[in-house]
């Protein structure tokens, strides 16, 4: 089937590399850091590009994926609404090393903002209970 595109639409540019479906391959996937430790589940994605409900002039570059989001954004994804940009917890897309049945990050989880609740609970509660740093193996 070689159906011609309507003349007003530019043809899809050729894409190098793999095609990923955001809904199928990225959303709600587990993200692991470079040691294989779970960091978070991808709660939402952040795209660059024109704001909502504005006129898009011709020749505007396509939006690109800038970050994986986590934290309170999960609540707004379920119940609606949108947190202000300053409240989003981001994992920059450049930190992503591989996308498979899990998303592998190329950085340590300790350096990410996404891990602050885990670190807070570890430092304030769990590590203070005797045996909290004991290796079970």
């Amino acid at each position: 089937m070689n159906r011609p595109f309507p003349s007003t639409l530019a043809p899809v540019p050729p894409i190098a590399g793999r095609t990923l479906d955001a809904q199928l391959h990225l959303m709600d996937r587990q993200a692991l850091d470079n040691d294989g430790v779970p960091v978070t589940t991808v709660d939402d994605l952040e795209l660059s590009g024109p704001a909502l409900e504005t006129e898009i002039p011709e020749g505007t570059p396509a939006p690109i994926l800038t970050a994986l989001l986590t934290g309170p954004v999960l609540g707004t994804r379920i119940f609606g609404g949108r947190p202000p940009s300053s409240r989003l917890i981001r994992i920059p897309w450049k930190d992503v090393a591989d996308v498979g049945v899990v998303i592998k990050l190329g950085v340590s989880g300790d350096s990410l903002d996404a891990g602050w609740v885990e670190r807070w609970i570890r430092d304030k509660i769990i590590a203070r209970i005797p045996g909290g740093r004991h290796d079970p193996r």
């Binding site: 709600d28 960091v39 978070t40 986590t70 769990i126 590590a127 209970i129 909290g132 004991h134 193996r137």
Partner: protein, 409 residues
């Protein structure tokens, strides 16, 4: 030789780990009221749990993903959260029932009131989760749980009329003084007791804990396919003992002391000692499994670091959530609510919630992206579809039957 030992250990653990407070109470209640006329449900439940555990173990081994990660990915956040809420609450109810079961068994052994045993039981459960290696925890409770074989021994020592028992089992009929709706209500309860969702969370997460790969699938299949049916025999023996001693005496089981009464009559003091060890081990083991399952479900849904193979400090939210669950268990039990009653409700709610976990696992175990060449075979899929229907019917019928029968009373 070492491999053979591993298989033997796995099978024995599966037998000992099959029975929990839900199986103990429900089978005894059913035996004392309906004789062996509901024994076919145990068979249906055992085949179901074999199928379900086999699928979720295979998903975990082939993809390295545990049940609730898969549920969130497949259902999305909204349906996933609804599923998490239902599964988590029912699991919490089961944690409470198991903790109460430990305390009741210790009361029977010591004559100290069970409310005093509850803090002891909770601290012991927490210490094991905090400190003990996963495989040791599994094997010790499973092995000690094997002492429940005393129910089988007691059934033989009671010298029942085998022909009569076989007749009840093979030609099921509703006893005269019971209604059809309570018969079917208890059928669902028994099904829920055999096919509890926490077993599947635990089984698939345990596969990740122990680092299973595809190579270990054969052994896991043997553990399940041999261990669970043999565990089912223990369930039948519990019902059988109740049917022989309690049914003719007109005693309907409402407490744990009545569950073990037939063992005391058949096997004497020694039998009693064995059954008490067995019940403490079985409920303790199940309390560990359900508490871990509550941590697993939360951590897997939100993507936290989890697992007993990590230091607690490296899975901080996972450990904190389990501590909170245990504290909630104490709070509920200290209101003085009857743990046996909590158990009876928890098995029925398990049956109600079962489709929520069964369906996503069935879908993913057919997805080559996760499973590669290890997708379900045709025979497994046919059986799975039959069970999907059974599970849906049980789930939908449970609440109307609960209302009609006044929860079986």
């Amino acid at each position: 030789m070492k491999r053979l030992l591993g298989v033997a250990l796995g099978v024995l653990t599966a037998i000992g780990g099959f029975v929990d407070i839900g199986d103990l109470v429900t089978n005894a209640v059913v035996g004392s009221r309906f004789g062996l006329s509901l024994v076919w449900v145990v068979g249906v439940g055992v085949v179901g749990i074999c199928l379900f555990a086999n699928m979720s173990g295979r998903v975990a081994a082939a993809s390295g993903r545990a049940t609730f990660e898969v549920i969130r990915e497949r259902l999305g956040p909204r349906a996933g959260l609804a599923n998490l809420s239902a599964s988590f609450l029912i699991n919490l109810m089961t944690v409470t029932a198991e903790l109460g079961g430990i305390a009741l068994a210790l009361q029977l052994a010591s004559s100290v009131h069970y409310l005093l045993w509850i803090p002891v039981a909770v601290v012991a459960v927490w210490l094991v989760i905090w400190r003990v290696k996963f495989s040791i925890m599994e094997n010790v409770t499973g092995m000690l749980g094997l002492t429940l074989i005393v129910f089988v021994v007691a059934l033989f020592l009671l010298k029942p009329d085998w022909g009569n028992l076989a007749g009840q089992a093979l030609a099921p009929a509703i006893p005269g003084e019971e209604t059809a709706s309570s018969y079917w209500y208890y059928a669902i309860a028994l099904f829920g007791a055999a096919m509890t969702p926490y077993e599947v969370f635990f089984f698939s997460s345990g596969a990740v804990e122990e680092g299973w790969s595809v190579k270990d699938l054969v052994q896991s299949r043997i553990n399940v396919l041999v261990g669970f049916p043999l565990g089912g025999i223990l369930s039948v023996a519990i019902a059988g003992c109740a049917a022989v001693v309690l049914l003719p005496a007109g005693i309907a089981v409402t407490s744990l002391s009545q569950v073990i009464l037939p063992v005391a009559e058949g096997a004497g003091k020694l039998g009693l000692a064995f059954v008490l060890v067995g019940i403490v081990a079985a409920t303790f083991g199940a309390a560990l499994e359900t508490t871990l399952s509550s941590g697993y479900t939360l951590a897997q849904f939100f993507g936290w670091s989890w697992g007993k193979f990590r230091r607690p400090a490296q899975a901080a939210r996972f450990h904190l959530s389990m501590i909170i669950c245990l504290l909630i268990g104490i709070a509920v039990l200290s209101t003085g609510v009857d743990p046996v009653l909590v158990t009876e409700y928890s098995v029925v709610f398990s049956a109600i919630a079962l489709p929520l976990t069964y369906l996503p696992i069935l879908i993913v175990s057919n997805d080559p992206q996760y499973m590669g060449e290890h997708v379900n075979g045709r025979a497994v899929n046919v059986l799975s579809m039959v069970y999907l229907v059974v599970i849906l019917v049980a789930s939908i019928a449970a609440i109307p039957l609960m209302i009609v029968t006044g929860a079986g009373s």
